[in-house]
């Protein structure tokens, strides 16, 4: 397939991309008019008339998964398209407490998500499409209405099933989501088999974050060159970021890959550190973060990753250790309790960190934390232990001064109110054994 120009003379592409370069996904003030308004603004849904045809465009665009892992979408599409009777799953489970972008998309641009789901289903030849959303129902009303409109217009070629993901930090993990959709316990599974080989109902399954689907729907309309017109050469396009400012304000914002973090976060005020990538992410000192950009090329050398685009600034006057300890406790409780390293490691690390965040911790605790971290990472069915250990280790580095203060019996912010959002503790579901 030839590279298409943004001007769009190629058949199948809409005549002209609307408006300025950004935002692409979430128009300011929303897009009124439901399905009609959506199609009027963006152009018709450009079905390609058969499986596989969109994949070359997606490969050309360089689109990667926006759920956090940044896996090349075209490779996933090609892998699933090669299988028998594939299934497509739009992943809007968004189980990261600090992320709000998927919910924002489902609420403000449901038709863009559903366009992407249809196009992905066509690209892999799927007859079944599922849209999984965070439990709690804040997206359900919008989505059932949107689906009804599309059905009335005869737009969808594959019927879309709405499903609620389970609650909990690991619910959005690919294998856990597929397990829940299959009627299982919703726990991460060992791979192989990958879900692209054996997923929902045992069929090859494409699981894509809802934001990824939105980008897909726009690439199908305006082409790969248009998509690459923002972002960097190696990481093209834009991504949604959920940005938590030090003053407590929070916003979902769209930014080109490569945008300096200082443009997204207000780092001029009294900010001591920045959490990049959510609770599986990395703490960075504010000064270091100010010199970095929202791209893996910039963040990887600092030990961080763009992930699902969560950025949080920790203001001065808070104890970074206490914040980290609260989150580590939440993450330890989020373990599904099936792998030894996670079940034995994370509670130990969380308890050690709580001691470290308290007054006069034993001097051995910090060494224990390092040792346990080394023993815990790189093992288990999913990346929960790895992500948690990355988060904890980065805190020990970034808040080294605070650690020294605690060892001497001082805390820079004793009794400060919690800053980072940690969901309320949940009692384990009864009948968890199977």
């Amino acid at each position: 397939m030839t590279v298409t120009s943004p001007a769009g003379a190629t058949p199948g592409l809409a005549a002209r991309p609307p408006g300025p370069a950004l935002p692409r996904l979430l128009p300011p003030g929303g897009r009124p008019g439901g399905l009609a308004g959506h199609l009027a603004a963006l152009g018709p849904l450009p079905y390609r008339g058969g499986p596989g045809r969109l994949i070359a465009d997606v490969a050309e665009s360089g689109l990667t998964g926006r759920g956090g892992a940044a896996f090349p979408v075209a490779r996933k599409l090609a892998a699933v398209a090669a299988g028998r009777r594939p299934v497509v799953v739009g992943n809007g489970a968004e189980s990261e407490p600090l992320s709000g972008k998927d919910a924002a998309l489902l609420r403000a641009a449901p038709h863009l998500v559903l366009d992407g789901l249809q196009l992905a289903a066509e690209a892999v030849g799927a007859r079944r499409a599922i849209l999984a959303v965070h439990p709690g129902g804040y997206a359900g009303g919008t989505l059932t209405g949107a689906l009804a409109q599309r059905q009335a217009a005869g737009l969808d070629r594959v019927p879309v099933e709405l499903a609620e993901a389970t609650d909990g930090f690991l619910a959005g993990q690919e294998t856990a989501l597929v397990s829940a959709l299959n009627g299982g316990l919703g726990r991460p599974a060992f791979t192989p088999p990958r879900v692209s080989d054996r997923g929902v109902g045992g069929h090859p399954t494409l699981v894509q974050n809802v934001e990824t689907l939105c980008h897909l729907a726009l690439i199908a309309r305006y082409g790969a060159a248009w998509f690459r017109s923002v972002g960097t050469g190696t990481e093209p396009g834009s991504m949604l970021a959920t940005v938590w400012q030090a003053d407590g304000r929070a916003a979902v914002t769209e930014a080109a890959l490569g945008t300096p973090l200082g443009q997204l976060l207000d780092l001029r005020g009294p900010v001591q550190a920045v959490l990049v990538g959510g609770y599986h992410g990395t703490w960075l000192p504010a000064g270091q973060a100010a010199g970095l950009a929202l791209s893996n090329a910039s963040l990887h050398p600092a030990g961080a990753a763009a992930g699902a685009g969560v950025l949080a600034a920790l203001p001065a006057g808070r104890c970074g250790l206490a914040e980290t300890a609260r989150v580590a406790r939440y993450l330890a409780l989020a373990s599904s309790g099936q792998c030894g390293p996670c079940l034995n490691g994370l509670p130990r690390i969380a308890a050690g960190l709580a001691e470290l965040a308290g007054t006069r911790p034993r001097p051995t605790v910090i060494h224990d934390l390092e040792r346990w971290s080394g023993l815990t990472s790189g093992r288990g069915a999913c990346h929960h232990p790895d992500g948690t250990v990355r988060f904890v280790r980065s805190a020990l580095v970034t808040f080294a001064a605070e650690t020294a203060a605690h060892a001497a019996g001082r805390c820079s912010a004793p009794g400060a109110a919690p800053f980072l959002l940690v969901p309320a503790e949940q009692t384990p579901a009864p009948g968890g054994r199977r």
């Binding site: 924002a104 923002v230 509670p347 004793p414 384990p428």
Partner: protein, 245 residues
């Protein structure tokens, strides 16, 4: 000891050894679970022991059955070894042995074909092992008077007591087991209790503050209750427009 009594003794002895082996196999199967271990033995060794002792029991069972048929002291007949109630001699008690033999055959065949039939089907059939053991014990006690008195009675009583004890330990453990979803919480509580220092900055915010945080997330998500001005979706539009090139 004539040729005839040799057969008689062989049949009785192999029968007793077979019962002992089956008892050990049942004990291993009952006690060794995913979490439970035998001290000093890794799990794969226990599984191997379970499997090899079972095969040894099969061997003894074959000798036991063949010698019992060949023994001219009583008439049983080849058919009665697999068909219950077909034996002219003590049809009920020999019949129990026949059922046990059939079950044993089913267990061996499904175990050999485990990779082919799948774990679930194999496991379903393997539950029959729990019926096999009491059948064998009843067959031993009923078929002849030897086990009903003296040291052999004590032996069979000891087997029964061991299996009963193992079963109660296993059932008790199952009743007290923490479901996977609660395991991390149990572990965390254990470690927090074990920390010598009081955890003064216990990572639990006051409830009111927690609700405030949840409200903040709700405002990010764009819920109806979002306060005007903090509604985020429209707030930042062109952030990276100039930066993205």
């Amino acid at each position: 000891m004539s040729a005839d009594t040799a057969l008689w003794y062989a049949s009785r002895a192999t029968g007793v050894v077979c019962l002992l082996l089956m008892t050990v196999v049942v004990l291993l199967g009952v006690l060794v679970t995913r979490q439970g271990r035998l001290p000093g033995l890794p799990r794969f060794a226990v599984t191997g022991l379970h499997r090899n002792l079972s095969l040894l029991a099969v061997l003894f069972l074959v000798v036991h059955v063949v010698t019992a048929i060949l023994d001219p002291f009583v008439t049983i007949g080849w058919v009665a070894t697999v068909v219950p109630l077909a034996s002219p001699y003590r049809p009920v008690w020999i019949g129990l042995g026949a059922v046990a033999l059939d079950l044993m055959a089913a267990l061996v065949l499904t175990s050999l074909a485990r990779a082919r039939i799948g774990r679930r089907a194999w496991r379903a059939v393997h539950w029959l092992a729990y019926a096999l053991w009491p059948l064998s014990l009843a067959h031993s006690l009923g078929s002849s008077g030897d086990l009903r008195s003296g040291p052999l009675l004590w032996l069979s009583a000891a087997c029964a007591a061991a299996v009963a004890a193992a079963l109660s330990v296993r059932l008790l453990a199952a009743a007290q087991a923490v479901p996977p979803a609660g395991r991390a919480a149990a572990e965390l509580a254990r470690h927090e209790a074990a920390a010598r220092r009081p955890v003064t900055l216990a990572p639990r915010g006051p409830v009111a503050r927690q609700e405030d945080l949840l409200a903040r997330r709700q405002s990010v998500l764009g819920g109806e209750e979002a306060s005007p001005g903090r509604h985020a979706l429209a707030a930042s539009t062109g952030v990276a427009r100039e930066a993205g090139r």
